[in-house]
């Protein structure tokens, strides 16, 4: 799950630079962890073990996808209930509060330590204890209402903040011989409501360093808007196969006194941004395959020096394709997934504010992952990731560590990860991120003699939830 830290960093930058773009560079966004979560309170509510919903947390099995699709409502624990005089069920509250806790500690070592502000070198082998600790309210709220709400303490920020949230109202029915699930999701991150592990909110890597540099350019839908928006979407699913969803998102900024204005509204969505998602899933035997698409169209206002209610805007259109294949055997589990995101940007505001040197640009991102688990205990994952697009020497300007000498947004490389899962709610991972290209070049990418391989990262992670 792309984390709040990443997103907050991006928007801090947007406010400073009046760029209102997530494809810009900042130190904050370079230290961009990815987090994902599995929630034991669901296990307590359903009485079903983690392995029913997860291959290995946080990746979902078909059963887990159904559980989420149906609003986190399956309940086998004792509950407090009430009915009206007309027999309507007015309350079903679990005897056990659906609260969970997650803890994650990590150690990060980059190939070459990063520069510190006074010209020296920062400490390498950075330990974060915790990297993050989260509380969850995750479970049934009412007969047709369920939630996944996360509050996270971030070690680097030394603060609690709202993290991902997905509150959904769901019902089921049938049309002819087809089973229908339909509902609405109220959430704060595009794709966090999704049930597949190839979309930005839930894709690999599920945990990443909170201190290592990571590429700066990212599309809007690729986690950029997480926790900075509120979205309401409606969805339906037919026979566990065909899925359609549409909704709108509007800026709902954290840590900012409202209403948004020229000083604090940088990057705010004008009106609402539409979001759509369609996929087809086929399940057979121990296998399942999904292919789908999602996207959004966003108009942002720069704020800052330009009055938020006036002036030019930036326009982003994101279209993505995703696919996931999964084999779940009693011993072997294989997952192969991919996502490709294409973004067209028209930066009228950035151009007018001398933040961008071109009006129109394209940014592309693709990730392809393959994972194997043996008896849900030992696993390995490999991912190839790449981002490329049009060069823009103003938007992607040289800067020590974070900048680009070439003005290109290109970055690519591989992630290798080994997993050990001694118990279903505890995971130890060793991850290595190797960069072939970073912010537009392999050598001296920032114009300050730092090479892409200097940012190669060894990341040791210990993660549990209960």
């Amino acid at each position: 799950m792309r984390n709040i830290l990443k997103d907050r960093g991006r928007f801090d930058f947007a406010r400073r630079t009046v760029a209102s773009t997530a494809a810009a560079f900042s130190l904050a966004i370079l230290f961009a962890p990815s987090f994902a979560h599995a929630v034991p309170s669901y296990a307590r509510q359903t009485g079903v073990a983690c392995e029913a919903c997860h291959t290995v947390f946080p990746e979902l099995t078909p059963f887990g996808r159904d559980f989420k699709m149906n609003g986190y409502l399956l309940q086998n624990s004792k509950e407090v209930s009430a009915i009206s005089e007309k027999g309507k069920n007015t309350l079903t509250l679990s005897d056990l509060p659906p609260i969970s806790f997650m803890f994650d500690a990590s150690m990060t070592n980059t190939n070459r330590s990063v520069p510190d502000p006074v010209g020296g070198r920062a400490q390498n082998a950075q330990v974060e204890f915790p990297q993050q600790a989260s509380f969850f309210y995750a479970g049934k709220i009412a007969p047709h209402l369920g939630a996944f709400v996360q509050l996270t303490y971030s070690g680097p920020d030394n603060a609690f903040s709202m993290d991902n949230a997905d509150i959904r109202a769901v019902n089921t029915g049938s049309i002819g011989s087809s089973d229908i699930v339909y509902g609405a999701s109220f959430n704060n991150n595009m794709t966090v409501q999704d049930v597949f592990n190839d979309v930005p909110a839930w894709g690999f890597p599920f945990m990443a360093s909170g201190t290592a540099p990571t590429p700066a350019a990212a599309t809007q839908i690729d986690g950029t808007l997480g926790q900075d928006v509120a979205g309401l979407t409606a969805y339906f699913q037919i026979d566990r196969s065909f899925y359609g969803e549409a909704g709108v998102y509007r800026t709902a900024r954290l840590g900012t006194a409202g209403p948004l204005n020229s000083a604090n509204g940088g990057g705010a969505i004008q009106g609402v941004a539409p979001y759509w998602r369609f996929y087809y899933e086929h399940r057979w035997g121990h296998n399942s395959w999904e292919g789908g698409t999602f996207g959004t169209n966003i108009v942002t206002r720069p704020g800052g020096a330009t009055p938020i209610t006036e002036g030019p805007h930036n326009y982003f259109t994101d279209v993505a394709l995703d696919t996931q294949y999964q084999f779940i055997g009693d011993r072997d589990i294989v997952t192969v997934s991919g996502v490709w995101i294409h973004e067209n940007a028209e930066r009228d505001a950035d151009f007018a504010n001398f933040v961008a040197s071109r009006l129109d640009s394209v940014l592309e991102t693709a990730r392809l992952s393959a994972e194997y688990f043996y008896e849900r205990t030992y696993g390995a994952t490999i991912q190839y990731f790449t981002t490329w697009g049009d060069a823009d020497p103003l938007l992607f300007a040289p800067a020590s560590l974070t900048g680009s000498r070439t003005g290109k947004p290109s970055s690519n490389g591989e992630v290798f990860e080994l997993h050990y899962v001694p118990w279903l709610n505890t995971k130890l991972s060793l991850q290595y991120v190797a960069y072939n290209e970073f912010n537009g070049a392999s050598t001296n990418y920032d114009g300050f003699n730092r090479n892409a391989s200097d940012n190669n990262t060894l990341f040791l992670n210990f993660w549990f939830a209960f």
Binding site: A43, G47, F63, L74, K78, R283, D330
Partner: protein, 204 residues
């Protein structure tokens, strides 16, 4: 006096209605729709190879298994992962279990699909109907019936999912699922025997 009257009327209604309370049926239907159907399908057809088909399964067998899950006396890995929790639902009383079992038992069994490997299926049929005396493997049909339809607490096997059948035989072999008779029988089966039997039965 009022209490006695109410109790008497209640007992009379229960007897007249054959011992089934409307509440139990409603609760069973609710559980079937909200819990069982997620994996076993709305009419017990099953949504995947992890989950057995319940449509047309014998009522007594379903009842016995749900109670075994509830009492945690059936403890194979999938039973623990899925069914211990499901069966721990406080709404799942003995009477409700009976209603759930009745519902699934009354559904039309799923007709198995013809086996792709007919040679393997034929071998399974031979083993099922006649056993393998030279290895001490008894004929399965002796208890499960020639059509593998089962009876009383002996489960129906015809049309069951192949993967599920194979997993159960392996569980009996390893004593992960306790049943002395089935353990003894299953330990005489080779990997190929299990493959053949499950292929044949899944095609019925």
């Amino acid at each position: 006096m009022k209490n006695w009257l109410a109790l008497t009327v209640g007992i009379a209604i229960t007897i007249v209605s054959g011992g089934v309370r409307a509440d139990d049926t409603d609760t069973a239907n609710e559980l079937i729709a909200n819990s069982c159907a997620n994996c076993h399908g709305k009419t017990g057809e099953s949504t995947g190879p992890t989950f057995p088909r319940l449509a047309g399964q014998t009522q007594q067998y379903i009842e016995a298994q749900i109670k075994a899950f509830r009492d945690k006396t059936r403890a194979d890995p999938h039973a623990q992962a899925y069914m211990w929790g499901m069966a721990s639902n406080p709404k799942l009383t003995d009477d409700v279990i009976t209603e759930v079992a009745k519902f699934f038992s009354a559904q039309k069994p799923v007709k198995g699909e013809p086996a792709e490997d007919t040679l393997l299926s034929d071998k399974g049929k031979q083993l099922f109907l006649h056993g393998a005396a030279e290895r001490g493997v008894p004929e399965c049909a002796q208890c499960h019936g020639e059509n593998a339809a089962g009876k009383d607490t002996i489960p129906r096997l015809a049309g069951q999912r192949k993967e599920y059948l194979a997993r159960q035989l392996e569980a009996f072999q390893l004593n992960l699922r306790e049943n002395p008779l089935m353990h003894e029988n299953a330990t005489k089966l080779t990997v190929e025997d299990i493959d053949a039997l499950s292929t044949y039965l899944a095609s019925q």
